[in-house]
């Protein structure tokens, strides 16, 4: 991996991208394509690629490359593009701070504790996993309780087995993927327990990772206690009522030596918070415009740091746009200001971006609160599209074309996902 020598690191870049995951890589390409001359990517790992490096399963790139790649292969494809675009990359380097003048402080063994000035910044720090502590499971605190992503790193990157008899809490994609992975590694997966009445991951992962391996999925069930002194020796699980409260009288015990927690990702936003970027309380990521600019001038954001994606293809698309915005900003060009604010309405948890224009085409990503089938996606009074189904675990994408908004003169536009009958009525 071509890492810069200390004397090659410039004092000033047109665009500095924080994070070299799929978001950061695509943003760098986008920035170059929109006129930025000098672009730098900083990543704290020894190799760019982000979380993709540990996702050795297939399933990446179906939309973007029209073929099914593994995570590392997808990252490699993108990295080649980045290198073709003559972008500087610094790895094993941690961004400590971005200040309002867009001075980026970084720390690395090779480059020391140093600063770089940026014409525009792209935040692409990805996400971290929610932990056992975030949902406060009572009981002991033995070894053997870990997040699914950490277990994935142990197995896929280091070749160690996190456990032999594994219970999994949460049916997010990482948990599902890891259920299959651990079975293939010779461990026994005793069950996946999901608080909600529906699986949280992609439907294809439920089928390919659980059903195909006869792993039981217990919906509306949660882990209520962890047992074991040195290492986990069992967990207690219980069904939950409609208010998601455990029915303790019906609890049962599941012997296991490991509990993987796969209860979601949280956008990593310490840098954004410290910089005073406005955050959306629902996504916990920055509020962004149609060019993925945050509330701070010249600071853009994309990928999991903005909102949690389930498909990397959309990360790449969104990030290319963000990088383009940053490149244009650094070159002194700005596109027309947003004049439409998207408001999450019925059964819509979040919309990204938060604002759009009436004169260009935009891709809007939304997440629903509840499953519905069949249903209808409504954009205020101006547009409606039937959908076969929606589930909270799968992001809905909507292309908003200028013609939908002909005659709409700006202001708030509510986004609803409603039952089909109701929409028809």
């Amino acid at each position: 991996m071509p890492d810069l020598q200390p004397w090659q690191l410039e004092r000033r870049y047109d665009v500095v991208v924080v994070g070299g995951g799929p978001a950061g890589l695509a943003a760098a390409v986008g920035a170059r394509e929109q006129g930025a001359e000098r672009v730098l990517i900083v990543d704290r790992e020894s190799e760019p690629g982000g979380i993709l490096q540990q996702c050795i399963h297939h399933g990446f790139g179906l939309h973007h490359f029209k073929e099914e790649l593994t995570g590392p292969a997808y990252a490699q494809r993108y990295l080649e593009r980045v290198l073709e675009h003559d972008v500087d990359i610094v790895t094993d380097a941690y961004v400590l701070d971005v200040d309002p003048t867009r001075r980026v402080s970084l720390l690395s063994g090779r480059h020391g504790r140093t600063e770089v000035d940026a014409g525009a910044v792209v935040l692409a720090m990805g996400a971290r996993e929610r932990t056992r502590e975030a949902i406060r499971i009572p009981g002991t605190r033995p070894a053997g309780v870990m997040t699914a992503g950490f277990a994935q790193k142990l197995v896929n990157m280091a070749g160690y087995l996190p456990g032999r008899r594994v219970a999994i809490l949460g049916s997010g994609d990482i948990g599902l993927i890891m259920a299959r992975r651990l079975m293939l590694e010779g461990a026994e997966v005793v069950g996946v327990f999901e608080l909600m009445p529906h699986a949280n991951g992609l439907t294809r992962n439920v089928v390919q990772c659980l059903h195909d391996f006869d792993i039981p999925l217990h919906l509306s069930t949660t882990v209520v206690r962890i047992h074991g002194h040195d290492r986990v020796d069992k967990v207690s699980v219980a069904p939950v009522d409609e208010a998601l409260r455990p029915r303790m009288a019906e609890a049962w015990e599941v012997p296991c030596d490991t509990l993987l927690v796969s209860i979601g990702l949280i956008p990593d936003n310490e840098l954004a918070r410290a910089l005073g970027v406005r955050l959306d309380p629902v996504t916990t990521g920055p509020v962004v415009t149609s060019t993925m600019e945050t509330s701070r001038d010249g600071v853009f954001a994309c990928g999991n740091t903005v909102h949690i994606h389930d498909l990397v293809d959309w990360v790449s698309q969104e990030s290319q746009l963000a990088g383009g915005g940053a490149g244009a900003f650094a070159s002194g060009r700005r596109s027309s200001a947003d004049n439409v604010r998207l408001v999450p309405g019925r059964n819509v948890r979040s919309c990204v971006p938060h604002t759009i224009t009436t004169d260009r085409e935009h891709t809007v990503f939304l997440r629903v609160t509840k499953s519905l089938a069949p249903c209808s996606l409504r954009l205020g009074e101006v547009y409606e599209r039937p959908l076969r189904y929606v589930v909270p675990g799968e992001m809905v994408t909507l292309k908003v074309r200028p013609r939908f908004l002909q005659g709409f003169h700006g202001g708030n536009l509510h986004v609803d996902v409603v039952p089909r009958e109701e929409a028809a009525a």
Binding site: G109, G112, R128, G139, L161, R164
Partner: protein
């Protein structure tokens, strides 16, 4: 090997006694079953150096609280550990509570505790705007402080070792036999002789006393659950806040730890000696109690939780003293404020041993300090740059939540960390909001490389607490 003194138990009490004894020309052994010092109750508590006015008069607790409090300043000068006198507030919600404040005020003044002051709501809201506006009056004790208790144990033990202490970790004492000229102490890893034995075995204090036929303290066990909140709340409350005790509970406190993170707790429920579980009821009690003091605190901010067990003697006081077995000293039943009192207890125990016939000759070679570990996150940008130039390992982040570098982790291992918890409690790697998701692999690798063991041998805290497990063997019939 024959020792002058063998101390069973390397909690804060055992460590403080050990260090005090290394001021003299003595062969001292400090024995603990765990793989690191301080892993018993001494790492799982509120970390408060009580102000000096709190414990009841006429008790051993009352006699050592204020003395201990004052001795911490000197310890903190000699040794590197997180320690800060941030002060505490006891808040009153009604007339009964106000009476309690006056009782504490009088008690403190009689002991000579300096600076105690009653605050009216106006002053309180100015100083601590996030506390409940229902508070009628508060007692401010500037003498109170917070300490990172595990760091104090590490520093005390490291300094004692430097001054000649023999530290025997992963040694479980199973028998103690009185001989004419001393004791034979049997552990699972060998036998040693000692002229005097100090029982500082925490919740196992009665069991150790029983081994040699000394008096027991009738220990019972009171568990306390504590909950740590996200860094987001740093500065939300700047002093330790106590409610007034009710007949049924001492109450839930809000504690700004040395590192700034808020902690809320502890509960107090009878339990087994080894019950370190947290519970849904405990969490409820803690967050209800904390919200009564500071309504802005929410359960959603919790990033970690733990429980500790207090060893409670039948009379609720410390059981410190010589026993019917000559040369065997009990230091048991050290419940709260045992952390506060530990330095005073250590001085008392040295005196007790002297009374039992231990000769004390000053060792002129005693060095009171050890080098402070580098805390990268606490340095300013220029100092950070200098440190990285000197050693590039400080340029690599190990823990991203707390900004701990690989250099710090490696130093911790050089200074005795053997486990993931050992690294965590020495460096804070893994204490932040991602709870090790990022740094755990890095720390495992550094432990394995530095100690020349397999990654699969790395444990969370010794024993069978492995992080990874070997693959299942295919069974051959």
């Amino acid at each position: 090997m024959r020792f002058d003194v063998a101390i069973v138990g390397a909690g804060v009490v055992g460590c403080a006694i050990a260090r005090e004894l290394t001021r003299y020309r003595l062969h001292v052994a400090l024995i603990d079953r765990e793989c690191e010092v301080g892993l018993g109750t001494s790492k799982a508590n509120s970390g408060i150096i009580h102000g000096g006015h709190r414990a009841h008069e006429g008790s051993y607790k009352g006699a050592t609280e204020w003395r201990g409090n004052q001795l911490w300043d000197e310890l903190a000068q000699d040794l590197p550990f997180g320690y800060s006198r941030i002060g505490d507030l006891t808040v009153a919600f009604d007339d009964g509570d106000i009476e309690h404040l006056h009782m504490l005020l009088d008690q403190g003044r009689r002991r000579g505790v300096s600076g105690l002051e009653l605050w009216e709501p106006e002053r309180l809201q100015r100083e601590e705007p996030n506390l409940s506006h229902d508070v009628k009056q508060a007692l401010h004790a500037p003498t109170s402080g917070v300490v990172n208790p595990y760091e104090a144990c590490f520093a005390l033990a490291e300094n004692a070792v430097r001054n000649g202490l023999t530290l025997l970790l992963e040694h479980t004492v199973s028998a103690i036999e009185r001989r004419d000229d001393g004791f034979t102490v049997t552990t699972d890893r060998g036998v040693l002789d000692a002229r005097f034995v100090v029982n500082a075995a925490g919740v196992h204090g009665d069991a150790v006393a029983r081994m040699v036929g000394a008096e027991e303290a009738g220990l019972r066990f009171r568990k306390g659950e504590e909950y740590l909140l996200d860094k987001r709340l740093v500065g939300f409350v700047t002093r330790v806040v106590f409610p007034c005790p009710s007949p049924t509970s001492k109450g839930i406190l809000v504690i700004p730890t040395y590192d700034g993170t808020l902690m809320v707790g502890p509960t107090a429920t009878w339990s087994e000696a080894t019950d370190l579980t947290t519970s849904a009821e405990g969490a409820r009690a803690v967050f209800e109690g904390a919200q009564r003091l500071a309504p802005g605190i929410s359960e959603g901010d919790c990033i970690a939780e733990f429980a500790g067990v207090r060893a409670v003697a039948a009379d609720e006081d410390f059981a410190i003293g010589t026993t019917r077995v000559p040369g065997f000293v009990n230091v048991i039943g050290i419940q709260s404020p045992g952390l506060t009192a530990a330095p005073a207890i250590a001085l008392d125990v040295v005196e007790l041993l002297q009374g039992e016939g231990l000769g004390l000759e000053h060792d002129d070679g005693f060095v009171p300090g050890i080098d402070a570990p580098i805390r990268f996150a606490q340095l300013d940008a220029e100092e950070q740059a200098r440190v990285v130039r000197g050693d590039p390992r400080f340029g690599r982040i190990a823990c991203r939540c707390e900004i701990v570098t690989e250099g710090e982790v490696l130093h911790a291992i050089e200074r005795g960390a053997r486990t993931m918890d050992g690294i965590k409690f020495r460096t804070r790697a893994g204490m932040g909001r991602c709870q090790g998701g990022f740094c755990a692999w890095r720390c495992m690798r550094l432990l394995a490389e530095t100690l020349d063991v397999e990654v699969s041998d790395v444990t969370k805290r010794g024993g069978a607490s492995w992080i990874t497990l070997p693959r299942l063997e295919v069974e051959h019939a």
